[in-house]
Amino acid sequence: MTAQEPSLKQYRKKLGKLETLTEKPTHYCQGCEHGELTRLIANAIENLGVRERTVMIDSVGCSVLAFDYFNVDHVQSPHGRAPAIATGLKRVRPDLVVYTVQGDGDTLAIGLLEVMYAAIRGEPISVFLVNNAIYGMTGGQMAPTTLRGQVTTTTPYGRDTQFTGAPIDATRLISTIDGSAYVKRVSLAISELETARGKTYSIKNILEAKQAIENAFKVQMMGGFSFVECLSSCWVNWKLPIMEAKRFVNDQLVKQYPLGTYKDKFGIEKK
């Protein structure tokens, strides 16, 4: 662990109450990165001072109850349609900051057209994709991002890509679209570190995600479409212990979905 990196304990201590969050405890499973993402998005909104002109579009999936957690205006969306709802709203109220939090099934299966066309038109909105390689809310079915051979309830013998097609790389896909401005893939899973004094945890990934999320909002406010794919775990449906699931994200998921900045049209990361 480097000197600049606060420990998890120190980090937790630094987290005060945010006006952007309601007091309601989330329904997310213990260890699920949706919790981290909720906090990071709220942080970014607060840092940018835009809470009073921000609207969240609530998608369908594990983030369906997000309207209980973010103290901003909300519009519910049918499954997959969040970027279309965001488009309609942003077009009639261009001063708003509009974002969606969507799962891999929502964004990349039922809603692939909506997210791609929002990118094609370069809508000034932010899409945060939670990729945990599975349908979480419905109980662990194959998602477009399920890995080769991965066991899910609808691929009980492992995903056979000969029949299902290969996992979809959303970040790479969106980055190839001319209209997208900022496209980045991060991991929300903390990683383990061996130190001389024993095992500890690194939140390097979280800090990187934090910056990416803030950049995404900034790019939106500069008039561009931003897309941040957040690799996450789902230990409940993966049927793994929490820390093992997080390890799987950082060891296995990143192999299929390499982290990094895939597009930065406005050079926001250099600013």
Partner: protein, 359 residues
């Protein structure tokens, strides 16, 4: 635009919407409704319509209607238009809009179905529009114009009702009312302002946040929500029924029809009246809320009804519900894009008049 115009129903509807201060239109082309977005695209940016701020062509019917949802959540006048196969694709969003209590307008220029059908006029979407084509207990406010004149004046009425009740509204045109060209005196339309401050999503500045949502996981909370919607629908049924009752005062036979079919039936009524028959026309203008009570009242004199539709019998079921068994209700329909001739309607009426009533 001058007051005296010769235009298609679809064009008239577009101008009617503009005069009603339409703010945002989301398009997807489908015959026979496409003149609506084409007319609006042409007028987009014109100084005559400063409220018309957004025109956007979507990549699918689903995308278009969900954009309408997003814009409506922002508290503005938003609409889209489509035709039957496209209207099927709107159902998901309409169910959401009803649950989220969003005022918006979807125009359905009814064509032949089921499936791809054809692009000729039909009224086969009556059930879908009036009974709720999407999931859950909800209703759309459905207005059925029968002329180019009404295509022009109905968008304003639809927006007024949609915003008054915070409910999606629908204009039920057909390939005839959409494609028909008529010489009309364009109606004077005075748009009203709507107060959306209590719910519109505009950013929670100096106020509590607004959540436009249709979901309540708690059964008791959700029951409350659905009951609230139901009470609203009952209010609409009580206060917003619209219909045209033509020469029905002493009518013993009533021909019931909506949209373009009612125009043909009116000619038949005039002809048979001239011959001394006690016959009248009943035309529902709101297909939902349906005028059940006016029909029940008509049955005090009229013991025979002929329902004429461009389908295989849909509104006839509502007329029967309204008649409550007090009158004989028969049906005559045409499909595939064919229209009933006056002669055919006349023959059916004569046959009905001769039939003995066993009740």
């Amino acid at each position: 635009m001058t007051d005296r115009v010769y235009m298609k129903g679809n064009e008239a509807l577009a101008y009617g919407a503009l005069k009603a201060k339409l703010n945002a239109y989301f398009a997807y082309p489908i015959t026979p409704s496409t003149e609506i977005p084409e007319t609006l695209a042409k007028e987009f940016g014109s100084e005559e319509y400063p409220d018309f701020k957004v025109f956007l062509q979507a990549a699918s019917e689903l995308e278009a209607v969900n954009m309408v949802l997003g814009a409506a959540a922002g508290g503005v006048r938003a609409m889209t238009a489509t035709s039957s196969p496209g209207f099927s694709l709107k159902q998901e969003a309409l169910s959401y809009a009803a649950g989220m209590e969003l005022p918006l307008l979807v125009v359905n220029v009814n064509r032949g179905g089921p499936g791809l059908g054809n692009i000729a006029p039909e009224q086969g979407d009556y059930f879908q529009m009036t009974k709720g084509g999407g999931h859950g207990s909800y209703r759309l406010i459905v207005l059925a114009p029968n002329s180019v004149q009404e295509m022009a004046s109905f968008p304003k009425i639809a927006f007024d009702l949609a915003f008054k009740y915070r409910n999606p509204a629908c204009i039920a045109g057909d390939a005839f009312t959409g494609q028909l060209k008529e010489d009309i005196l364009f109606p004077t339309i005075e748009a009203r302002d709507y107060d959306v401050s209590s719910w519109a999503v505009t950013g929670a500045m100096g106020r509590e946040r607004h959540v436009v949502n249709s979901m309540n996981l708690d059964p008791e909370v959700h029951e409350k929500h659905v009951t609230h919607l139901d009470q609203k629908y009952k209010m609409i049924q009580r206060d917003e029924v619209r219909y045209e009752s033509y020469r029905t005062d002493d009518a013993e036979i009533v021909v019931a029809a909506f949209g373009i079919t009612s125009r043909i039936c009116k000619s038949v009524v005039n002809k048979l009246r001239a011959e001394g028959s006690k016959i009248g026309l009943f035309r529902p203008i709101t297909l939902w809320p349906f005028p059940y009570e006016p029909i029940r009242k008509l049955t005090e004199y009229a013991k025979r009804f002929l329902v004429v539709e461009l389908n295989t019998g849909q509104m006839v079921e509502d007329v029967r519900l309204g008649a409550e068994g007090r009158a004989k209700v028969e049906f005559f329909g045409k499909v595939g894009g064919l229209l009933p001739t006056e002669r055919e309607i006349e023959d059916n009426l004569r046959k009905l008049a001769e039939e003995a009533i066993t009740a």
